[in-house]
Symmetry: C2
Subunit: 249 residues, 2 copies
Amino acid sequence: MRRPDETDSEFLRTYDPDAYERPSVAVDVVLLSVRDGRMCTLLVRRKERPQAGRWALPGGFVGIQESLESAAQRVLRAKAAIEDNVFVEQLYTFGEPERDPRMRIISVAYVALVPFELQATAGSAEPDRSVSTVGIPWHGATGGAVELRDSDGRIMKTAFDHADIVGMAVKRIRGKLDYTPIGFQLLPETFTLRQLQRVHEVIQDQPVNKDSFRRRMLASGHLEATGERQRDVEHRPAELYRFIKRSAV
Amino acid sequence: MRRPDETDSEFLRTYDPDAYERPSVAVDVVLLSVRDGRMCTLLVRRKERPQAGRWALPGGFVGIQESLESAAQRVLRAKAAIEDNVFVEQLYTFGEPERDPRMRIISVAYVALVPFELQATAGSAEPDRSVSTVGIPWHGATGGAVELRDSDGRIMKTAFDHADIVGMAVKRIRGKLDYTPIGFQLLPETFTLRQLQRVHEVIQDQPVNKDSFRRRMLASGHLEATGERQRDVEHRPAELYRFIKRSAV
DNA sequence: AAGCATATATGCGCAATGCATCTAACGCAA
DNA sequence: TTGCGTTAGATGCATTGCGCATATATGCTT
């Protein structure tokens, strides 16, 4: 499929690929987690110009023979020590001509969801603390730029249009939450219904009715009771569940 | 905002933008309409190699100082004679290294929705009939490649990965239909509830309950009765409605 | 004038949701 | 050991939205 026919191959030898000036293409990854009742994302302090010192999403240029997916995975491995088992989805492509002062850079943004524990270990492995997580404040319906703050509540200066990219990521995940089972991506392999509910509440920034949430989740067929229960909690321990892929209907 | 500071400007003079080999970036537009109870999209017969003779989405390379949105609008104007008032939304970016045999071309796909009447007049204005509309057959849940057929039901050979792009567009629009008012984008300025229902049925490929559809639409606050009614129909004429943007809550 | 086709309104049963109540199971302190 | 606080999890009920059936309205056609 999609293989050029004979005459096409002839043609390709004479085709001039330099007819147009080309932009650079990069990927940026929004690595979202939920920590202490807030959303957070991984940012890297820029060491080089332009905008040295500002906080940027982990990213990198796309190799000339590298797929966009692979580039995103590579960035995750290199800058966040995150392996391939996490949820990664293409988000949006940002291409305003002036978004980077160096040159025309078109950035294909990806969202990844990981349990905070993974992101924390990845971050602490970085000795120079250039990796940090930030909370995302929550003004109702989002979609535009977002204010990013460090753990002390101070606003972090973000690079380029990366605050817009994070805003778009939050909007996307919030929208998907209602009709796609992705909340569990932000939790350990086994989790309680209460924990899952809190994830939903944080993402939507509004309380969720406990009973109907339980009913919906259990009726969805995506959850499977493990038979295990919580340990060392000061109250009745809750059942631990596991996500299961629903077989094709 | 996002303006480089003094030291950055200095740095930019010495920055070498040619450190990486760069891909070409293009936009392709899926121009969807509903005609005779089927979805259809605009395809252009390729005159040049590679894949001359195959049917492709209207598209073009992104200018080095042109935003992605502008490029999509330019393609719509040039190849479909469609003006700016239509719904256009970025869809997905396709970047497999081998998707185009010429060279690495990353394509940012857009979806546009227009009433079929507009697409028809645009197509007929093209004298060489290189512009055509096709129906999209419907195998349940979509997302992957799609078979495209001409008005006689013959399968049309599509170029590159454009059948995948159309599949993605259909999936996106189908998904958005439930929680976003976009169906009216495929209808004239005033329309009956029945026409809107048919649009929904075609996009979802399943019948919609008439009464609850009416109730939902009227309760949504997006529709406004014009006071006018259909003319020259063989039965009781239906009220004509108009879409209204709901004021911000 | 009669008939036909579709629009529009109304009433009812079912299923999902929100809410309140009740019981179960753990740690903790006296 | 016993009582208490806390959260899990189950049950019952009112409300809401939806599917479905029915009845009426209003145009055109013959």
